[in-house]
């Protein structure tokens, strides 16, 4: 177990340490200006100096991202389920949903902010908008991907449609659901930050924007890395949930 961890985590850690060392060295050796590329040490310095405010803003963004993720995913799951059960709804709405999905989030964010106001609600709404599509589509596909012979088994056993849904179609859909959730959780941080770019007085997007205007590049880098870290942590949480809820799935099996 420990050996496996070392084996898996070893290479990326070595690469990270070497990269940071080279970065630090290059900044000093070539005299790279801080506003072009701050050295890791100055980014760390900016983080330590402003850690309280940075973490406060990160907390705001994390809340927006999580709330938007949950609302968007819940709506996506609901709509995806409706589409899986109704050919009419799926065929009627899907073209428009796919069209809406191609709207750049920066274009729709100002509209959503007009609708939902200048507070945190509009940031959640933008995030929810972005993390709606992947789950809607994957939920629909997942619910339709059940084994037809298993359905016959349920039919022979006189299962009700509700039983067939909860004991067969939903479990069959879970691997797809987690594909959608993993996409959503990554999009959710992007959605929250983009919304804060458009209009905000707090959050990591706000920090990035204000740091950029005052050319406080180490602070901007610190905020950027913090948002990346947030995305990674969220992703790992969803991946851990997948291991809990879909332990049977072949892709969970090491060595396959």
């Amino acid at each position: 177990m420990v050996l496996r961890l070392v084996e898996e985590a070893g290479p990326p850690i070595v690469v990270l340490v070497v990269l940071i060392a080279f970065w630090e060295w290059a900044c000093h050796a070539f005299g790279i200006k801080t506003y072009v590329l701050p050295a890791p040490s100055s980014i760390l310095g900016a983080f330590i100096k402003g850690s309280n405010t940075l973490l406060y803003h990160a907390g705001i963004t994390a809340f927006e991202a999580m709330a938007g993720f949950v609302i968007g995913s819940a709506l996506g799951a609901l709509i995806g389920t409706a589409f899986a059960y109704s050919r009419f709804l799926a065929r009627g709405f899907l073209p428009y949903i796919i069209a809406a999905n191609t709207i750049p989030v920066v274009a729709i964010a100002p509209i959503i902010i007009i609708w939902f106001g200048h507070g945190i609600g509009s940031k959640i709404a933008v995030t929810a908008f972005l993390s709606f599509f992947p789950l809607a589509l994957n939920m629909m596909k997942g619910l339709q991907s059940y084994d037809r012979v298993v359905m016959d088994v349920f039919h022979i056993a006189a299962a009700t449609p509700t039983q067939a849904f909860f004991k067969m179609r939903l479990p069959s859909a879970l691997p797809y659901v987690f594909v959608g959730l993993k996409l959503n959780v990554t999009f959710s941080v992007i959605g929250a930050i983009v919304a804060e770019f458009v209009q905000a007085d707090r959050g990591l997007g706000f920090v990035i924007m204000t740091s950029y205007r005052s050319m406080a590049m180490p602070r901007l880098w610190a905020a950027m890395l913090l948002s990346a870290l947030m995305g990674i942590v969220f992703f790992l949480i969803v991946a851990a949930l997948e291991r809990v809820f879909v332990p049977w799935h072949a892709s969970m099996d090491p060595g396959r």
Binding site: D147, V150, D152, V153, H155, A157, A158, Q163, S172
Partner: protein, 267 residues
């Protein structure tokens, strides 16, 4: 209450009369089954055999209420297949074991009882008995992925028996297995049939399997799917794998093969 007694003795387990089934697609209609008549005695073992397209699986699916016939009547113990299915008196085993991969063997075998609402302790106790009957003791907690094809099919048979069906329908259940596993499962099937006295209708491609297991062998021909011949198989019971060494066994296989060949002449 004379009538139920009469029902129990005289009424065939399966009574198919003048059954036809037409598959219609946009540009053509296929006569999958044409004027099929078949009676199966309670507790007997009947095999349906014939080339692809002869309608044997279609007939089995009609018996299991997975398909509705175009015309004709089907009665199982005097009742419509739907009523029997809703009372969970039909067991069905497919060529694919179709064990949901997220359920343990125990949970898979207990699934029909779970759907019926049997309390957990009861259904697990019953499932354990069946797991024992099919020789899977020790694998209750295993997942289907961890079992061999033959073991998965044993679990599927146990599941089909879990609601104590009156009719067991088997659709080429051993078709995907190797010969040795197939022999062993045939042996187990004979044992299960002896113990439970359930009426069995088996769809198979193998005349040797049909002769070994059956009381009657229904030979079907395609285009349109219909019954061409019914062979009586009076080999002594209980059957053993050694039954295959009897001269009568070979005679029946020959008889079956020639009936099948006439069927293939239509292909």
């Amino acid at each position: 209450m004379a009538e139920p007694a009469l029902r129990d003795t005289a009424m065939p387990a399966v009574d198919v009369r003048n059954l036809s089934l037409v598959y219609r697609s946009r540009d053509r209609a296929v006569n999958a089954l044409s004027n099929v008549d078949l009676q199966v005695e309670r507790g007997s073992f009947v095999s349906l055999i014939g080339p692809s397209g002869c309608g044997k699986s279609t007939l089995l699916r009609v018996l299991g209420d997975l398909l509705a016939p175009t015309s004709g009547t089907v009665l199982l113990d005097g009742r419509a297949p739907r009523a029997e299915r809703l009372d969970r008196r039909i067991g069905f085993v497919f060529q694919d074991p179709a064990l949901p991969e997220w359920r343990t063997i125990l949970a898979n075998v207990a699934l029909p009882l779970e759907l019926r609402g049997t309390p957990r302790a009861d259904r697990e106790a019953q499932a354990r008995e069946l797991i024992d009957l099919v020789g899977l003791t020790g694998f209750e907690g295993a997942y289907p992925r961890q079992l061999s094809g033959g073991m998965r099919q044993r679990a599927a048979i146990a599941r089909a028996l879990s609601t104590k069906p009156r009719l067991l329908l088997l659709d080429e259940p051993f078709g995907a297995l190797d010969q040795i596993t197939r022999d062993r499962l045939n042996l187990e099937l004979m044992h299960i049939h002896e113990v439970t006295r359930v009426t069995v209708v088996l769809v198979t491609h193998s005349i040797r399997e049909a002769v070994l297991l059956s009381d009657r062998i229904v030979v079907m021909t395609p285009r349109p799917g219909r019954i061409s011949r019914i062979l009586e198989d009076r080999l002594p019971r209980p059957r053993r794998l050694q039954t295959r060494d009897l001269p009568d066994y070979e005679d029946l296989v020959r008889l079956g093969n020639s009936a099948l060949e006439r069927g293939y002449a239509h292909v």
